[in-house]
Subunit: 243 residues, 2 copies
Amino acid sequence: MRFTSEQRFDDGVLEREFTLGEIPGILWTPASASAPAPLILIGHPGGLHRMRPRLVARARHSVADGFTAATIELPGSGDRPRSAIAEQARADLRRALEAGEPVEEEIVDRLVLPLAEKAVPEWQAALDALLSLPEVGGPVGYSGGLIAIGVRLAIVEPRIAAAVLFAGSFVPRTLFDEARQVTIPLHVLLQWDDEANDRQAALDLFDAFGTKEKTLHANMGGHTGVPQFEGDAAARFFTRHLR
Amino acid sequence: MRFTSEQRFDDGVLEREFTLGEIPGILWTPASASAPAPLILIGHPGGLHRMRPRLVARARHSVADGFTAATIELPGSGDRPRSAIAEQARADLRRALEAGEPVEEEIVDRLVLPLAEKAVPEWQAALDALLSLPEVGGPVGYSGGLIAIGVRLAIVEPRIAAAVLFAGSFVPRTLFDEARQVTIPLHVLLQWDDEANDRQAALDLFDAFGTKEKTLHANMGGHTGVPQFEGDAAARFFTRHLR
């Protein structure tokens, strides 16, 4: 892990870009750190640059609440090498959406499954590197999408103790079986009036999660219109489970 | 409105029982009141005595958050005269539940509709009396069940500015049409694994609400197992909309 740049925000948050091998990432910590603070992994659908304003807002909120926060680029997104399979699946998805057709499950499988397969070990490698820093501690939370990555991490990565999941992406069929294996506390966000979202699939997925400690928060406001107060609610969830 | 008894809790909450004509009720205010505080009407399924421990806990939470709180007995519950129609509907409901049969919609209609019809003007009369007290102010929130009473009040009573609704009771068919007329902010609680609850009806009702500001919180824990942190979430909702 190699730090490549740093800047300080006026709220006392230190933001550092890093690379982990070929993978770019960003770490946010309190500028004046004392004890190691629990880490929240900030998930996203890929494209650090495009997503950056929203990621930075979520990360600064987390640091203000006493956590550290970090994210890495997804395989095939941003400046990372494209995958032919994923590009083809994305083109097929776009074509279906533009034609107003239902998105076939095999397109979702082609898009999401190889991505999650490749991303999960990368997030685990990032965890190894991040947790070796003196200012970053456990337990770890995962927050955001893609939900397939969050669910897989919740199952295979014992250092992750709680997760906030955005039920807003396409759900591959195998995810329902994986969901039953999740036993950590979950806080699931659903934008009720998100036209790009399969609401019934999101509700079915919430139902499938095996954990006894799961909460669903559904709001209005469209795909990107998660209300501001949900940031506070997510922070309280992590405070209950990571502190 | 006639106060019939009072007691002080050690957290500085003054609890006074009252009667409004033949209707018993309870008012909770800060023992040392200064300015009038917004009122939260504490809804329930009927039976003040049976429900009392839970009602008192919710009311003291509200007063600690800077509100006043009040409730009244429902028609046909507690010491109030029974209604032959409601008793018959309740017996039919019990019979269906014990036989493991689906509850017919006309039973729910017979049980809930006359009750809401009678209860809503009573809650409005209670509002008149309560808001004439110097320590009680507006705007007003409604919190709890029966959901048919909460929805009707949200439509017909302009002094009610926000409502927390428990989606845990039987839903008469006409409620879906009424739900579309609701325009105040709503915070809806659903116990996901409540076997006595029709989950799909609750989700359909949430979808039907006409307000653009609606949030659904679904949790595990069965019918009476609403997690403690939901009390705080409801308080934050009322603070956003009543203060």
